[in-house]
Symmetry: C2
Subunit: 198 residues, 2 copies
């Protein structure tokens, strides 16, 4: 068991910090790695877990504090797990709408039964930069890629991701519902258990 | 779910192949990476999981087949997780007896309550060398480091590892008992679940 009061989040995104802080609870204070450096590490890994560990080690090295990193994305079965770690830059950095349009186009002739996909979130926590035992928690959210976008909430691939347990797209869920079901929520439940929180 | 009939094990150790084959069951045939190359990759990771992924990717690259790697060792709480990934070479390659003697010496003034330790096993399975979604399964076996060696079975740090649920050292367990309780057995149970085996 690790006792923590502060944890540096390996992200410069204030929205992600707020969301993860809410999921983590108040007993651990999350701080942004942006307080310590504006340089972001190159994500050279081939998988979520490799990139999450790499980002966590980097944030801990910069801050001298325990660090948490999140790496996440969409893995489509028919595409062998793509776009995966390249989810955010699938359409070469043109943003969410272009990413979604590209995915719909790539899958346009693929029947429903073969459109299975999963959102993946890996959380990595290191006590120090060279920690030999990073805590790793993976959350998977199984669904299917819709033939067209639907819904206005969320971000990224949410409008294309059919959620079987709610019979709607992930972008049709309220933020509160999504934060109960999502890959990130599932990973965070496991992390809270590993840290002995509540 | 991944359907496999063959899997290359990233190890040149025939004993480990036999043990893992027995734990995995007969529906998947384990082959040694030694069939494809005698060169072993440098383990440059800082943790079990990084080294397991690295070895699995290497074995898959050499064989062109899905590959499984095991990385494991002993993490002592008082030593911040050491010897960890360096478990097998703790006493600079002088072998099990020297490793055990060094650990006893390092902990000689540490009271029982602070001698907690865990055996860690991480299994990594990749479908291909660049697999964006390696399957990772971790098995932990909690115990305590004894003040002196006890027992004749097993190998490595087994004579020093007190198993609370059996009131004996890990080297006093029969091989069959150890293979029910060990970190490797626990990781393999998780892997079998992930692969949908039995």
């Amino acid at each position: 068991m690790i006792n923590l009061t502060q944890l540096v989040l390996a992200s410069h995104n204030a929205g992600k910090l707020k969301e993860l802080q809410a999921m983590l609870g108040e007993s651990v204070q999350l701080r942004s790695v942006g307080e310590f450096s504006s340089v972001e590490p190159e994500e050279t890994g081939l998988s979520f877990v490799e990139n999450a560990i790499l980002k966590a080690r980097n944030a801990s090295r910069l801050s001298g504090l325990p660090a948490l990193a999140d790496d996440s994305g969409l893995a489509v079965d028919f595409l062998g797990g793509a776009p995966g770690i390249y989810s955010a830059r699938y359409a070469e950095g043109q943003g969410d709408a272009a990413n979604n349009a590209k995915l719909l186009d790539v899958l346009k002739d693929v029947p429903e039964a073969e459109r299975g996909a999963q959102f993946v979130c890996v959380l990595a926590l290191v006590r120090h930069a060279d920690d030999p035992l990073p805590i790793l928690c993976e959350g998977l959210w199984y669904g299917r890629i819709l033939p067209a976008a639907s819904g206005e909430h969320g971000f990224g691939y949410d409008p294309l991701f059919w959620v079987p347990e709610r019979n709607c797209s992930s972008a049709e869920l309220s933020p509160a519902e999504k934060n109960q079901l999502s890959h990130r929520a599932r990973a965070m439940v496991l992390l809270r258990q590993r840290l002995g929180l509540k």
